[in-house]
Symmetry: C2
Subunit: 338 residues, 2 copies
């Protein structure tokens, strides 16, 4: 007898949904039945999975009935609307959106960091923001070894984090530029090709943009450090896939760069690319298509006696989104709490 799970994917035709199906395939997640849901626009599309075509449907009452897991790969507005239905209809929801992450009842989980939070789920588990996942994966081993006093991060985020339209906007702008045509903007407020957009999400009255607030709050929640001093500047860059972060971290005890390298190299999900001559260093291009978070440029922070500086790159669609969601389901199965 083959054990299998009935799995729904909401937002199956989006960038993250598509990557999620790819990750389910690669990891041979035991799917006995697949329900693909999306917006009206994608209704009727056909997606190959497990040797046969699946037709994408619109979400209707009963869509989640009989499902074990429902992966939500949509924005917060759609998640807020449909997640309660999925829970009512009996599915365990793994939600990639921002809709429930800061809800005290909802575990916000990176399986390598805080899997124990899953034990108290009430039907919804939130997967963090891509930038948060990338950051806590590196902070957690440092925290366990040396304690965290303060974190400052500047991000370099690819357009795929803003969805398929954003990817095609960069593509179109670059092709128009190469063809000598005028560049048009639509998804982004200003030209993204050969440019940098220094905020992601709305800027609040205190000056932080949405992405920065997520990064700070979610990191504190996942690490269980509600008062962690942390600040972030989040920037969109003209890269298709792969986010990068320049991180300054201050610890309670000093940690030598060599010790940090060894510690991070042993941590699950990380790959340290940091030869002394910088002959091989993390780039978004190198991170794209991988699940590991690449860590390099590890060095003492000259501005802080107990500080380290480092540079990380991650595939924002995989570990930053789809892979983390699938790992959450795998961990729940392992713990027998799905």
């Amino acid at each position: 007898m083959t054990v299998g799970y009935r799995v729904a994917v909401v937002g199956a035709t989006g960038l993250v949904g598509e990557t999620l199906l790819q990750v389910l395939r690669e990891r041979q997640f035991p799917v006995s039945e697949l329900v693909l849901l999306a917006s009206e626009r994608s209704e009727g599309a056909r997606v190959a999975f497990g040797g046969r075509d699946h037709v994408v449907k619109r979400c209707r009452p009963g869509s989640f009935r009989g499902c074990d897991f429902a992966f939500f790969c949509v924005g917060a507005a759609v998640s807020r609307k449909l997640v309660p239905q999925a829970v009512r209809e009996g599915a365990v929801v793994i939600d990639k959106s921002d809709g429930f992450r800061m809800d005290a009842q909802v575990p916000l989980v990176v399986p390598e960091v805080n899997p124990e939070a899953l034990n108290h789920h009430r039907g919804i588990v939130a997967s963090p923001n891509c930038s948060t996942i990338q950051l806590v994966m590196v902070l957690a081993p440092l925290m366990r070894r040396a304690g965290l006093e303060r974190v400052t991060v500047a991000t370099y985020q690819s357009v795929s984090g803003a969805g398929r339209e954003a990817v095609s906007e960069l593509e179109t702008q670059v092709k128009d530029w190469a063809g000598g045509r005028e560049l048009r903007t639509k998804r982004f407020p200003e030209q993204i090709a050969f440019n940098l957009l220094p905020h992601i999400g709305r800027v609040s009255p205190d000056g932080h943009c949405g992405e920065e607030v997520k990064l700070m709050r979610e990191t504190r929640k996942i690490l269980g450090l509600p008062d962690l001093p942390i600040s972030a500047t989040t920037v969109r860059v003209p890269v298709f896939v792969g986010h990068a972060q320049a991180v300054a971290v201050e610890m309670s005890k000093p940690l030598d760069p060599d010790e940090a390298r060894a510690l991070l190299a042993r941590a699950p999900g990380l790959a340290v690319w940091d030869p002394p001559d910088a002959a091989r260093y993390p780039t978004p291009r190198a991170a794209a298509g991988r699940d590991e978070i690449l860590v390099g440029r590890i060095r003492k922070d000259p501005a802080s006696p107990k500080g380290l500086l480092l540079w990380t790159c991650n595939d924002n669609l995989r570990k930053g989104a789809a892979t983390n969601a699938v790992q959450i389901a795998e961990e729940m199965i392992r713990r027998g709490i799905s």
Copy 2:
């Protein structure tokens, strides 16, 4: 009688040299005679200036004789070789390279920040690294008002900072990508199109790259704070012109974001673009072609009670290089010390 200066430009056909001639024109710098010097490769090229064509020559003994100012817009190796000759032959040298910046005898000057350093020159004045200029222009007013305790900066640097070949490499890679051709690398160690290269210059055994060391050392020298705790991560991004910086600055006294906005808006050479709704924010594209350093995203640093976060953009070829050099000459004329 028209007062004028005999001006030599070394590296006249490079990106910075070309921009310098443009800036001399725009600012109506009183040039009575122009001597254009460059490498063998550019010998014989013709450059229009002041209504007539000038022929680019190779540097020979006597090339600087009779010159009041010699602007060096070349790399450190060439500057180290030719600057002593120019000084011997009687010119005041304004050197854009890294060759003499940390020499205790050589003033390292941003005219808005430390013009008084010019008074002690001995024939050579160094103009700082582009990233240093961008940083100190913003730090100086904050330092004067509230003292500096610590600075952490992450940079986003355009390819024009690496010269004309680097610009053409990004151009070619993007056009090859648009045309479906394979991408080749030459000037950069890895693909720069749609990618990020997380070090600029060689990485030293302690893990910092050349650009980071310059940024730290030069900032301390210019601000007269030899022990300032400062750290930097410098990154090359696929942008043609315009560098950006995410800056976290900790001061001795807290400074409200509104006070900081007002203070920086009054500082010469800065333009604050920071409406509460972020409707207009600094981008490299907006900074390109301007002399002002654009400052935005000014907010309290949630990780530091006396800290501010800010985001700046600057044209690295203009204020980051050519304009600053010309301003140095203007300031020396004003002080009667040329």
